[in-house]
Symmetry: C2
DNA sequence: TCAATAGTGTCTGTTAGACATTATGGA
DNA sequence: TCCATAATGTCTAACAGACACTATTGA
């Protein structure tokens, strides 16, 4: 059944690279991990040649874990894109992954957090990828625990709401937010409280989703165009 | 593009192939386009070596257009997967696209519609891809005009509702469905009617989305786990 | 006439958002 | 004390689903 591609793949430059859009909330803003110093013209996203052996998601997970020094809070594949032949590695394809990490994650050496909405100048293709990744986080945060994985193990409900507001790009109603959260059985209170500046201390919660069955969302028509 | 994959693959093993999950509603069931006869052990999905030049989405669009003889009603990239080294083309990566076409689309020579929920025996990886593709259609049909593109230019509201019911896997309430559709300004009635068998004739509609701004969906927590 | 499907009006329980109020700390 | 934030109760408009009903065709 066919010849092994391994020889050809190892002889020539790798066919594809992995690229990472890693997001966190830093200083109250959405931040993305960028590599700095490679070129003078601006930043770049973390990338790595692809090891063609084994499942793609597992390869990416290993790479990101090694890069960050810890497993990301959440990660998914955004998709594959052609490099346009301009990538220095000689790769033809880029497979982009999107990950989120808690706010207290230190950037690895040579990397830094950049504001996701005013990033350093990026090549047009990378800027497009970044925008698509943030849009993907926004669209999936109701189905995946993205916001919860951008927080430490315990957090206040106001912190959680701020994550949602940052990713959705709009203010949310506090009482409504908490009612819906309560009804979803996703968090449970701890007996710890945190006093932050002036006002009343806030209770700390932890992400503890309880299985609920038979939750069917109604049909919605939300096409914009 | 569009030539027989076997020759191109043997001439120079490409780094990646394109694979297509093309869905339509045929005989009241969700169907997927399968290639037949290559092997005795079951069907396979349409695939093609990837032309590494140019944007990936454009290459895929050209290939699918040539394969079907017409542009698909809607298409998006599902993602990239490793072949596990077992693909006869020698490719390492598979980039899967998902497309939908109207019910009256004839399968190209050598292909056939297979029931998406009881397909011919597929290799495990392809079965997984098919399931993921159908799940992707289900999850995105509220944000993209997927159901509308599986219908001819004019259609009855009952036909539209049947598409939604097939993809969502559950029955929908007729009055609610039409109310929500009306509120979304997505269809407009034509002055044509269609008499189908016994009952009262149904009015034909066309997909004609009108821009509406300021439509913000509420925050929802729909994590299953 | 009956059967079958299209299309619509009404009612009701649920929910999202607005508003108001209380609670509890720091300055 | 004043102020800022947390947390919650109440009201209202909108909405989803159930139900019933009318409309219009073929058999």
């Amino acid at each position: 059944m066919g010849d092994r591609p391994a020889t050809a793949a190892r002889a020539r430059p790798g066919p594809a690279i992995l690229e990472l859009v890693c997001c966190a909330v830093v200083d109250g803003r959405l931040a993305v991990l960028t590599e700095r110093g490679r070129t003078a013209r601006g930043g770049t996203l973390p990338w790595s040649p692809l090891d063609p052996a084994g499942p793609l998601d597992a390869s990416a997970a290993r790479w990101v874990r090694g890069l960050l020094g810890r497993a990301p809070g959440w990660m998914t594949q955004l998709g594959a894109f052609s490099t346009g032949g301009r990538h220095p590695s000689g790769a033809v394809l880029t497979v982009v992954y999107v990950a989120v990490v808690p706010s207290d994650t230190e950037p690895p050496a040579g990397f830094a957090w950049s504001p996701a909405f005013e990033p350093p100048p990026l090549p047009p293709r990378r800027q497009w990828v970044l925008d698509a990744a943030v849009a993907g986080l926004r669209d999936r945060m109701d189905l995946a625990p993205i916001a919860f994985r951008m927080l430490p193990a315990t957090f206040t409900l106001s912190e959680l709401q701020r994550i949602y507001e940052l990713l959705l790009g709009r203010r949310l109603h506090k009482a409504s937010f908490r009612r819906a959260l309560q009804a979803a059985f996703l968090v449970e209170p701890t007996d710890a409280w945190r006093s932050e500046g002036r006002g009343r201390p806030a209770q700390l919660y932890r992400y503890a989703p309880r299985k609920r069955r038979g939750v069917r969302r109604p049909v919605r028509f939300e096409l914009l165009a």
